[in-house]
Structures are given as structure tokens and as C-alpha cells.
């Protein structure tokens, strides 16, 4: 195993996430796409950690923080989506254009 194979995999996941974020209509699926991007970050972190192979394991600690924060973000995001859904009866985000210009 070499480092770059993980990094390229990470880049692929990140790009797929970007695509999903930009193209999905449903707010929940947008959130799913963001999770893919964060998964890419974790792959990077763990792979780099293995590459440097230091005793302190900063990469893994970082990854755990990312996972925890991401969980909190999902909670926040779902609450907001629920709120929007309650007022608009739709989970689609491309209808959100009350405010512009």
C-alpha cells in the first residue's frame, strides 16, 4: 500500500460529495453528500497518520473530532430541515429564494 492510493480515493470521494451537494434537490440528500466529503477528509487524515507513523496519533484524534462534529452538524441540519419542512411542506432546497438581490 502506498499513500497516494488513499489520497486519490479521498479526492474521488470529495469530488463525488461536491457533485451531490451541487446537484441534489432534496435537503436531506444534500446533507448526505456533505457526509461523503467529510468521509474523504477522514480517509486523508488516517492515511497521513499511517504515513508519518508518529507516536502521538494526531491524525486519528483529528479524525475522531471530525466524526463527532459531523454528527452534531447532522443533528443541527436535520432540525433546520424539519423546521423548513414544517413551514413549507417541502424538503426541496431549490425553492428557497424568498430573499435575493
Amino acid at each position: 500500500m502506498v499513500l497516494s492510493q488513499f489520497l486519490i480515493l479521498g479526492a474521488l470521494m470529495f469530488s463525488i460529495g461536491v457533485y451531490g451537494l451541487l446537484s441534489r434537490r432534496n435537503a436531506v440528500t444534500v446533507l448526505l453528500a456533505v457526509e461523503l466529503m467529510l468521509a474523504a477528509v477522514n480517509i486523508n487524515l488516517i492515511a497521513f497518520e499511517a504515513f508519518w507513523n508518529t507516536a502521538a496519533a494526531h491524525g486519528q484524534i483529528f479524525a475522531i473530532f471530525v466524526i463527532t462534529i459531523a454528527a452534531a452538524e447532522v443533528g443541527i441540519g436535520l432540525a433546520i430541515i424539519l423546521l423548513v419542512f414544517r413551514n413549507r411542506a417541502s424538503g426541496n432546497i431549490d425553492q428557497l429564494d424568498l430573499m435575493r438581490w
Binding site: D94, D97, R100
Partner: protein, 687 residues
């Protein structure tokens, strides 16, 4: 954190010109009182003005009176022997900046030398008279305390500016003047037009201020000091410190001066600034505000004279355009104050041309004499407006009988402005012409002489339309009260005699002459002074003035006061065209038909009755047409169009940019990703 008080700058020893100047004694040492008193008056008026009998006017007048005493004593002292004193209080250290290792400091203080004494006195003298006059003029007006408070703020800021020993304090005063002018121009803010004028003045000045501030930031760090004295000494010594930044710094400062001193094309605010009460106009046009730019140029004169010589042709060009082109606009205005406003712009062009060409004394002398007759003219105009309740000359006429004092003083001011020997305006304008000629701007000198012709022309027109002929307004005009007329008389006197103070080659014994007074600076200014009157040049100037008056009288005399003469005012572009068509018919009749009818019998009559007539009428028509063209095309359309286009352009750009905000969150996200990607591509792949 106020630290050391230095009574004289350390650099004094280096400036050999300052060696024979005295420190001025008690009055110079306490000159700061002049800078502070108007602000005290300002606060006092705000606090207690409403409850006073004169609604605060007495406080403003009192403060100005004390200032006048101080300034007069200093003025007289400086007549006998030059004074130089500079006091700096260090407020804070800024630290080193730029290429020198000298510590920059933020300092406040005051400077007493020939230049500042002259300005102190002009501001105090004109200010005092205007304040007294305003006491009468504003009687029964709205917000009188606020008006006098603002007026005090105006004069005080100008004094802070004039007394500034360094660029930073100058900027503080400069902005203060701008703020006060904003308040005063918009005094009748209930009318949208007036508040628009105030905003326009403020904005135009603000644009120019960018130049002043950038120039300061460029020069100060390069020199290691913001002080004018150090700048003068360094420039006089052709210091390397200034070498790289002199021209750029000088041009930036000049740009700042262009705004305050209404140089083309930043003059647009000044005519609109008429919206303020007339005393404000008088103060603004004579002593404060517009002279600030000229003063800045004079204050930093060594920089222009010794170092930034490349900048000077540009400056002269702009100044000459200002003095010539904008003078025409006074020809077609119906608003009396607007006539005077365009005249101010044109005269500022003279001053700027002189200073830019290297005539330090010439420019200042014109500033000095102009202050008297322009204040006089504005106060006279105010008196007329007060009487007829209209700004328009088409509502005036025939007022010389009802308002004799106003009439005579106005005539004196007009003749002085026109430049008729031996009144003040003649001498100062003559010196400018001499300077332009001597410095090699011969073509510009002739333009300036032509400008003098235009000046005389429009002033004659203004006098004729206002005071001669028949009254066309409503109501019964009457002479203004004494409180308003005696300032007119007080200003008329110097308008007549001030020119004698600086006749080339003449020194008045112990009091010497104006050149010596304003020459009391830390370094010699080294500008050109004619040794004797250049009679040929004086003659040209005089001829231009007399010709202008004659032509003006011919066209606008009471007898010629016909409807066509009025039309020329009201339809500036259309009328000359009509008139021309008429010429062609006339020419056809008189030039072709008549000679054939009676070729010899009518020849004399033809030459007599037509050629002379046609030349006079033609000259008048052409001048009026030019005025109309400049006013209609350049000023009203061209420059306004430019400004509108600039404003519209930015607004338009804002409008287009606004559409980016589509409201769609994923478009935002897309912009986000693409923005990040572009940054990476730009700074990774390219480098």
C-alpha cells in the same frame, strides 16, 4: 500623552532664510487663541445660543472680533519685520515608516509666519464683517443659533487649517471645513435641492480628499515628518529623501487642492453651493473653503518650486482652463449669485495658475485682494436679494436709486474685479500676468488676458441688469439696514486701495510691501518679482478690462435692455442661432441689395451703421454663444454627464452584480466551490 513643547523647530538652524525673522513676542506666542476661540464660540452657541438675545450671533461676532485684534496686531508686527514661530505638541508617536529612520509623530500646533498671518487676518477680517452682516441678514430666519454655530465652526476649521504646522493638522482642518460647509450649504435642508447641493459639495470634496490623504501618506513617511517646515527645508535643499516621491506627492496634494479650490473639472460643486444663505457664500468664496487649496499650494510652495517642477505645467494647464473656460459660464447665468460663483471659479484659476507657474506672491496677492472685493460683491448681492426676495437678475433692475450704498459699493467691487487701474484687482491680476509671461507660459498669459476681458464683460452685465434699467420685480425694494451696509463700506475701502500694497518695485518705507510680508517663511520662496511695473503688460490687461466693460455696457446698457437681450440669457443656445439667421438675412439685405441700390450713397452709412454695429453685435453674440456652449454642453451636459455616467456606471455595476444574488443556495455553493477551485488553479498551476 502630550509631550515636549518645542517653541521653534530643530530644523530652524538649517534654514538660512529664517535667521533674520523675529519670534513675534506675546501675540505670536498666543496665536493659538485664534484657532481655539471659534470652537469655544461654537460650543457656547450650541449650549446657550437659544437663550441669548441675539441668538448666539454676539458670541460668534465676539470671538471673531478678538481674533481680528490678534490677527491685526500680528499683521502690523509682520509689516515692520518678518515673524516666524512654530509650536508643535506631540500627541503620539507613530514610529518609523518608509525609507528614513526618523520617527513620525502625530503633532498639533500652530505656525505664525508671513503666509499664515496674512491668512489669519483675511479670515478674521472678512469673517468678522460677514458675521456682523449675517446678524442683520438672518434676522427672523430659522435655526439662527445653529447657523452661527456652524459659521463659527467653519471659520474655526479654516483657522486650524491655516495655522497647521503639519499635514495631519491641515487635514483635520480641511475635513472640518468640508463638514461645516456641508452643514451650511444645506442650511435650508427642507428643500431637496439644497440638501442635494450640500451632498454634491461634500462628495466632490471627498473625492479630492483622497488625493490629499494619499499625498500625505506618500510624502510624510518618505521625509520622516509631516511638518511643513521640514518639507520646505528639505525641498529647498533638494533633499534625496523627497527625490522619488516629490512629483507624485505634489500632484496628489494638488488633486486635493483642486477639490477645495474648485479647479476644473472638480468645480461642479461650487455653483450649486449657492444654495446656502448668502453670508455663507461670501465667507466661502472670499476667505474660507475655496482659498484652502491655494493656501495648501502656497504652504508647500518650495516642493513645487524646487523639486516637483515636472508637475507644474499640468497644474498651470488645469488652472488656465479653469480661469478661461469657466469664466464664460458667468455670462449666461441669470442667478446673480451664480454669476459671482462662476467668477470665483475663474479667479481661483488665476490664483492657481500663478502659484503653479511659480508666482507665490502673485497668487497670494490675488487671493488677498480677491477676498475683499468678492466678499463685497457677495454681501452686496445678498443685500439686493434681501431687498427683492429673488436671486434672479430678471427680477431686478433699476435698483441704483433705491439702494445707493449697495449700488456704489457693488460697482467698486465690480470694477476692482474687472481689473481697472488703480483698484486692487488690477494690481494683483497684473502681477499674475507678469509671472505667467516671465515663467515662459506666454500663450497662457494671453489666454489670461482674454479671461480678464470676459471678467469685465460679465461683471458689467451683472451691474447693468441689476442696478440699471427698470425694476421688474415685485414689492418695493429698499436699502438694507445699517448692520448690513457698513460691512459693505468697510470692504469697499480695501477693494480700492489694497492693490497699492504691492506695486512692483515700490516699498512703503517702514511697512515695506506685501511681497516682504508673505516672504517671511522658513526658507526663501525664490519666486519671481518684477522690478518695476511692466507698462506694456499692464496696458494689455487694462485694455482687455476696459474693452470688456465697454462691450458689456454696449450690450446690456439700459437702452439695449430689450427682449432679445433677455432672450440671450434665457435661451443661451437657441438665441444666438436665431440671431445668426437674422444676420444672414441682414447681410443679404444690407450687403447685397442695398449696395446695388445706391452703391456710393450708402457706402458711408453702410460702414458706419453696419460694420461697427456688426462687429460689436457679432463679438457679443460670439462671446455669449461660447458661454452658452461651455455652459450648455460642457458644464451642464459634459461634466454632469461624466459624473452621472460615473455614478450610473457604479450603480449600474451594482445592479448587475446584484443579480448574482439569485437566492438559490446551490448556485451560491457552486460559486463557492468554483471560487475555491479558481484560487487553487490560479496560485498553484500558474506559479
Amino acid at each position: 500623552m502630550v509631550s515636549a513643547v518645542t517653541s521653534a523647530p530643530s530644523i530652524l538652524a538649517a534654514g538660512d532664510g529664517a535667521a533674520d525673522l523675529s519670534s513675534g513676542g506675546f501675540f505670536a506666542g498666543t496665536a493659538w487663541i485664534m484657532l481655539v476661540l471659534p470652537f469655544v464660540a461654537f460650543l457656547a452657541i450650541i449650549l446657550v445660543g437659544k437663550r441669548m438675545k441675539g441668538l448666539g450671533a454676539e458670541l460668534a461676532i465676539g470671538a471673531m472680533g478678538v481674533n481680528l485684534v490678534w490677527a491685526s496686531v500680528l499683521f502690523v508686527q509682520n509689516m515692520a519685520g518678518g515673524i516666524y514661530r512654530e509650536v508643535n505638541l506631540t500627541i503620539a508617536e507613530i514610529g518609523t515608516l518608509g525609507i528614513t529612520d526618523r520617527n513620525l509623530a502625530f503633532e498639533l500646533g500652530f505656525v505664525v509666519d508671513g503666509l499664515s498671518i496674512m491668512m489669519y487676518w483675511v479670515v478674521a477680517f472678512v469673517g468678522f464683517l460677514v458675521f456682523v452682516y449675517a446678524h442683520g441678514y438672518m434676522k427672523g430666519d430659522i435655526r439662527v443659533p445653529w447657523f452661527f454655530a456652524s459659521l463659527s465652526l467653519f471659520a474655526g476649521s479654516m483657522l486650524v487649517l491655516v495655522g497647521a504646522p503639519n499635514l495631519i493638522q491641515l487635514i483635520i482642518g480641511w475635513e472640518g471645513v468640508g463638514l461645516a460647509s456641508y452643514l451650511l450649504i444645506g442650511h435650508y435642508w427642507e428643500e431637496k435641492e439644497n440638501s442635494d447641493a450640500a451632498v454634491k459639495a461634500f462628495m466632490t470634496n471627498k473625492v479630492a480628499d483622497v488625493g490629499l490623504i494619499l499625498g500625505t501618506i506618500l510624502l510624510g513617511p518618505a521625509l520622516g515628518s509631516f511638518r511643513f517646515s521640514e518639507l520646505s527645508v528639505a525641498a529647498d535643499a533638494h533633499s534625496d529623501l523627497l527625490g522619488g516621491v516629490a512629483v507624485a506627492g505634489a500632484l496628489l496634494l494638488f488633486f486635493g487642492a483642486m477639490g477645495k479650490s474648485a479647479q476644473f473639472p472638480l468645480h461642479v460643486w461650487l455653483p450649486d453651493a449657492m444654495a446656502g444663505p448668502t453670508p455663507v457664500s461670501a465667507l466661502m468664496h472670499a476667505a474660507t473653503m475655496v482659498t484652502a487649496g491655494i493656501y495648501l499650494m502656497a504652504r508647500t510652495f518650495p516642493l513645487y518650486h524646487q523639486m516637483a517642477t515636472e508637475a507644474r505645467p499640468w497644474m498651470v494647464t488645469i488652472a488656465v482652463i479653469t480661469l478661461f473656460v469657466l469664466g464664460f459660464l458667468a455670462l449666461v447665468a441669470d442667478d446673480l449669485k451664480r454669476v459671482l460663483a462662476y467668477s470665483t471659479v475663474s479667479q481661483l484659476g488665476y490664483m492657481m495658475a500663478a502659484v503653479a507657474a511659480g508666482g507665490y506672491t502673485a497668487g497670494l496677492f490675488h487671493l488677498f485682494t480677491h477676498a475683499f472685493f468678492k466678499a463685497l460683491l457677495f454681501l452686496g448681492a445678498g443685500s439686493v436679494i434681501h431687498a427683492v426676495h429673488s436671486n434672479n437678475m430678471s427680477d431686478m433692475g433699476g435698483l441704483r436709486k433705491e439702494m445707493p450704498v449697495t449700488f456704489w459699493t457693488f460697482v467698486v467691487g465690480s470694477i476692482s474685479l474687472a481689473g481697472v487701474i488703480p483698484l486692487a484687482g488690477f494690481w494683483s491680476k497684473d502681477e499674475i500676468l507678469a509671472t505667467l509671461g516671465h515663467e515662459g507660459y506666454t500663450a497662457f498669459m494671453w489666454v489670461a488676458i482674454l479671461g480678464a476681458f470676459v471678467t469685465a464683460f460679465y461683471m458689467t452685465r451683472a451691474v447693468a441688469l441689476t442696478f440699471f434699467g427698470t425694476y421688474k420685480g415685485h414689492g418695493h425694494p429698499h436699502e438694507s439696514p445699517r448692520v448690513m451696509t457698513w460691512p459693505l463700506v468697510a470692504l469697499a475701502v480695501p477693494s480700492v486701495i489694497a492693490g497699492l500694497l504691492n506695486i512692483p518695485g515700490v516699498s512703503w518705507g517702514p511697512i515695506r510691501n506685501f511681497t516682504d510680508w508673505v516672504g517671511a517663511r522658513i526658507v526663501p520662496m525664490g519666486d519671481y518679482h518684477p522690478k518695476a511695473i511692466e507698462w506694456d503688460l499692464a496696458a494689455y490687461g487694462l485694455i482687455a478690462a476696459v474693452a470688456g466693460i465697454a462691450l458689456g455696457w454696449r450690450l446690456f446698457s439700459p437702452e439695449a435692455e430689450t427682449q432679445p437681450a433677455r432672450d440671450r440669457l434665457e435661451v443661451p443656445v437657441l438665441y444666438p442661432l436665431l440671431r445668426r439667421k437674422y444676420y444672414i438675412d441682414d447681410l443679404y439685405m444690407k450687403g447685397v441689395v442695398n449696395p446695388i441700390k445706391g452703391p456710393l450713397a450708402r457706402a458711408v452709412d453702410w460702414v458706419n451703421g453696419y460694420v461697427i454695429d456688426a462687429v460689436i453685435n457679432g463679438a457679443g453674440a460670439v462671446t455669449a454663444w461660447l458661454g452658452g456652449l461651455v455652459y450648455g454642453r460642457l458644464d451642464q451636459q459634459g461634466i454632469d454627464l461624466l459624473l452621472n455616467a460615473a455614478a450610473g456606471g457604479t450603480r449600474g455595476a451594482g445592479g448587475k452584480l446584484r443579480l448574482l444574488q439569485s437566492g438559490k443556495v446551490q448556485q451560491y455553493a457552486g460559486a463557492f466551490v468554483v471560487g475555491a477551485l479558481l484560487l487553487v488553479v490560479a496560485f498553484v498551476l500558474v506559479t
